[in-house]
């Protein structure tokens, strides 16, 4: 299997704060991988390093054929990596539909189009012309996922998508992510909610203090074993 994204001994910083320590990860084409870990261990920083928002002082990041230590935020998208950011980052002065269109900025063609997204999340069609931030938290999360799908990604990174979502919606979300994965999109799920991980991921990496400390196959029957990585 091809490797889509890999971090090789990346050390990343915010200013002088050393957050990622020799962080290494490989994402294989087609898989559904989970990155788990407590608050503040550096999961989002991993995403930020990829987007060039955290400073990578050593190590390298490879995306497809490109390898670099310094990525501009727009470059991963061009390589087919779309991010559903933590906190959703819906753009306030754009309508729901415009937010979706923004996701198609790279112009990559593929399965996903606006009608397909509306098919997936009917509520978005109803609210197509209201400002994106007038949606409830759960709806905003759907919009963020829809927006990322609009880029027809080869790899979709979801950073704690269940934050602030009602349990029922979390269930729905699990189905959707699985569906997208089956569609052929590689999934990297960053999560603390192990139920979701159990439902959608097949492999996991556990992060602690900025490094990957464990990895393995997700066994939905024995999910409690992963508990140690997320609960203090």
């Amino acid at each position: 299997m091809n490797t889509l994204l890999s971090f090789d001994k990346v050390n990343a910083y915010y200013g002088n704060a050393h957050i990622l320590h020799d962080f290494s990860i490989d994402v294989k084409e087609g898989e559904s991988l989970a990155l788990i870990g407590r608050n503040g261990v550096g999961k989002t920083t991993f995403v930020n390093a990829l987007l060039g928002q955290a400073k990578v002082r050593s190590g390298s990041i490879r995306l497809g054929r490109k390898e670099s230590a310094r990525w501009h935020p727009y470059m991963p998208a061009k390589e087919g990596v779309m991010v559903v950011p933590q906190g959703r980052c819906i753009i306030a002065n754009l309508s729901v539909e415009e937010n979706l269109l923004l996701g198609a900025a790279t112009g990559r063609k593929g399965y996903w189009t606006v009608p397909k997204i509306y098919g997936l999340f009917p509520i978005l069609r109803e609210r197509a012309h209201t400002p994106g931030t007038a949606l409830s938290g759960g709806q905003q999360q759907m919009l963020a996922i829809g927006r990322a799908l609009m880029g027809n990604p080869t790899l979709m990174i979801l950073d704690e998508p269940t934050e602030g979502l009602a349990p029922v919606i979390v269930d729905q979300l699990g189905d959707i992510i699985r569906q997208v994965n089956e569609q052929g999109t590689t999934i990297l799920l960053i999560e603390q909610n192990l139920h979701l991980v159990a439902r959608v991921s097949r492999r996991y990496l556990a992060v602690e203090k900025g490094s990957v400390i464990a990895e393995g196959i997700v066994d939905p029957e024995q999910i409690e074993q992963l508990q140690q990585f997320v609960v203090v």
Binding site: A17, N39, G40, E163, A166, N193, L194, E224, V231
Partner: protein, 240 residues
């Protein structure tokens, strides 16, 4: 224990534009009590603290402290009455040195001996060795503790802490929990603790209130809450 609630919030409603973040919350806390406030993200916990401390003016409802209505008071006036808080997103003075800002906070809170008070707090939070550092140069965890120091200094009567353990190591949060417990028992400080770390919340709270979508979902002793199926479903899940 004094039985008249020292601190009470009645029918609190807070709106952000069209969004109702707090929808009729009722809460009474006794003097010297530690109250845990938990709930899923976006339940309105931070908003609740904001409304109580004057950062946000509530749409409706009343906040009382020791029998006095403080709903309309300015932030500074509340602080003068002993209402003190920490922030979920660290809020410190980046360009000042550590001791200077804690000293300033202590002085403003009319501590008897502001200098000693400030040093004691820094000592307690293991920040004393950074006393002359520029706060902006501190690491994230240290900044979190400094935020906390600014809240704890000057013997507040009501302490509202917004996820104080986030960013602390396990031992640090354990120490902090013990410190809070001492404050409540020995100095009769009323504490409202918003925290996602259930071990801590259930460990030190006298009672726990659960919020969901701006409404109280349940209230009770830690054991009752832990056992409450609604809470398990809405919030605790596997954490119970």
């Amino acid at each position: 224990m004094i039985q008249v609630p020292f601190f009470s919030v009645r029918d609190l409603v807070v709106d952000y534009g069209g969004v109702r973040a707090i929808d009729g919350v009722h809460l009474e806390i006794n003097k010297g009590e530690i109250r845990g406030l938990i709930g899923p993200n976006g339940a309105g916990k931070s908003t609740f603290i904001d409304a109580v401390t004057g950062r946000r003016i509530p749409t409706a409802g009343q906040v009382q402290l020791g029998g006095e209505d403080i709903t309309q008071l300015a932030v500074v006036a509340r602080r003068m009455r002993g209402v003190s808080r920490s922030f979920q997103r660290t809020s410190i003075f980046h360009d000042m040195n550590v001791l200077e800002q804690v000293f300033l906070a202590s002085h403003q809170a009319q501590a008897k001996d502001p200098e000693r008070d400030a040093v004691a707090i820094l000592e307690e939070l293991d920040l004393l060795q950074y006393a002359d550092w520029r706060a902006g140069d501190l690491g994230y965890g240290q900044q979190r503790r400094l935020d906390l120091a600014l809240a704890l200094v000057g013997s507040p009567s009501v302490l509202l802490l917004d996820e104080p353990m986030a960013g602390l190591t396990v031992t640090e949060s354990r120490d902090l929990a013990q410190h809070l417990k001492r404050l409540a028992r020995e100095r009769n400080v009323t504490v409202l603790l918003v925290e996602h770390d259930m071990e801590v919340v259930f460990g030190i709270s006298d009672r726990v209130t659960v919020l969901e979508l701006g409404k109280p979902l349940a209230e009770g002793t830690p054991d009752e809450i832990r056992a409450n199926p609604k809470v398990r479903e809405a919030y605790l899940g596997s954490a119970a």
